[in-house]
Amino acid sequence: MKLNSLDPRISRAELPEENQYTPKTELDQWQTWEVFHQRNRGEHHTHVGIVHAPTADIALLFAKEQYARRMKCVNLWVVPTSAVYATSYEDSDMFEPGIDKSYREAFSYKNKELIQKFKSEQAEQAAH
C-alpha cells in the first residue's frame, strides 16, 4: 500500500504506508553552531540562536536564512558550540556577592541626574 495523503505532494511521492526508516539515535546529528548577528558596522555581534550544519560555510548559509532574513544585518558569525567554554550553573554562587559591594557598581552613581541638573542650570543662566 502506498501512502495516501490530502497533500498531493505526499501522495505523488508514492511512499510506503509503513515507515521504513529507523529513527536516528540520540545525538547522532550534525554539530550545532552558535550564530552571532551584527546589526550595524562597529556594533557588537549579538548571539541570536543556533543552527545544525556539517561545515562552517553551510552553517553560514543557514544562519543567513534563519536569523538575518527579517531584520537588518551587515555581518554574521558562526562558532562551533563545542568551542564555547562556559561556567557551570552549579558554580553560579560565585556571581552572588557575599558582602555589600554596591560601591563597585557603576549604576550606584547618579551621574545622569547630576548632568541633567547641570544642563538645566546652564540653560537657565543662558536665558537670563
Binding site: P8, P54, D57
Partner: protein, 252 residues
C-alpha cells in the same frame, strides 16, 4: 523599441521564475532537514517574487492583465517558461542541481539586462541581482559539498547533472525575437548568453568533481518558449490554481 519583442521577453522571464519558484516551493515542509527546508523555501519565495516584478512591468507598461490574473488564469499554452523549469521534483539532488543551473542562467541574464536599453527592465535587473547573490552562494556551497562528500552524494549529484544539464539548454531556446532584441540593445542573443553560462557552470561543476555530459541534441528540450509544454506544466498549474479557481474574484 519593438513592443512585441519586449512583451515576449518579459513573459519568458516571468514564467520561468513562477514555474521554478513553484517547483521549489513544493519542497516546503518536506525538505531534507529543517534549516535547509527554510533556506530553500525562502529562495523559492524570492523567485516567485521576481515573477511578480516582471508581471507588474507587463501590466503597467505593456497593458497586460494584473499579475494575479497572469499568474493564475492563463492556460498552459500561454506560458513561455522553458521545459526545464516545469519538470517534476524527484531526488533532492535534482532540485539542487536545477537550482544551480537555473540561478547561474539567471545571473548571466541579469548581468546583461542591467545594460538593457529598455530602462525599466535594466532598473529591475539591478534590484533582482542583489537577491541572486545568496541564491548562488547556496547553490555553489551545496554543489561543492555534495559533489565529493561521500560516494553516494557524488553519485546522486552526478546523476542529477546528467539528467538536468540537457534540459537546462532549453533555457536558451532562441525565439523569433532573438535578433531584434539584440539589435535594439534590449538583450543579447540566446547563444551568447548560453556561452557565458556554460563557462560559469563548467568551472563550478569541475571544481566540485562533477562532469557535464555530452548532449547529442541541444534542442531536445526546446518548445517552452513557443508554448509547447509537457503535461507536467498543466498538472502543476492545476494544482497551483486549485484555490483561486474556486472563486477567481475573491479578495485576499
Amino acid at each position: 523599441m519593438n513592443q512585441d519583442a519586449i512583451k515576449d521577453l518579459l513573459y519568458r522571464l516571468a514564467d520561468d521564475e513562477l514555474v521554478i519558484g513553484h517547483r521549489m516551493s513544493e519542497w516546503t515542509g518536506l525538505g531534507p532537514f529543517l534549516e535547509e527546508d527554510i533556506a530553500f523555501a525562502s529562495i523559492a519565495q524570492d523567485e516567485v517574487g521576481h515573477s511578480q516584478a516582471y508581471y507588474t512591468l507587463l501590466h503597467e507598461l505593456l497593458g497586460e492583465a494584473i499579475p494575479d490574473v497572469l499568474a493564475f488564469q492563463r492556460q498552459p499554452e500561454k506560458f513561455r517558461s522553458s521545459l526545464f523549469t516545469e519538470q517534476p521534483n524527484g531526488d533532492y539532488a535534482f532540485s539542487l542541481i536545477r537550482h544551480f543551473l537555473y540561478d547561474f542562467a539567471e545571473e548571466v541574464r541579469l548581468e546583461a539586462l542591467v545594460k538593457s536599453k529598455f530602462a525599466p527592465l535594466a532598473e529591475l535587473a539591478v534590484k533582482l541581482s542583489r537577491e541572486e547573490r545568496y541564491h548562488q552562494l547556496h547553490a555553489i556551497t551545496w554543489v561543492n559539498q555534495l559533489g565529493s562528500a561521500t560516494e553516494e552524494s557524488h553519485r546522486r549529484m552526478q546523476d542529477a547533472v546528467n539528467a538536468a544539464y540537457p534540459m537546462a539548454l532549453g533555457l536558451f531556446e532562441p525565439t523569433e525575437w532573438n535578433d531584434i532584441l539584440a539589435a535594439e540593445g534590449i538583450m543579447p542573443r540566446e547563444q551568447e548568453l548560453q556561452a557565458a553560462w556554460y563557462l560559469k557552470v563548467e568551472e563550478h561543476l569541475t571544481a566540485a568533481g562533477l562532469t557535464i555530459p555530452a548532449v547529442s541534441d541541444p534542442s531536445a528540450f526546446y518548445g517552452g518558449r513557443s508554448g509547447k509544454h509537457s503535461e507536467h506544466l498543466s498538472k502543476m498549474l492545476k494544482e497551483m490554481t486549485e484555490v483561486t479557481t474556486i472563486d477567481p474574484t475573491a479578495v485576499w
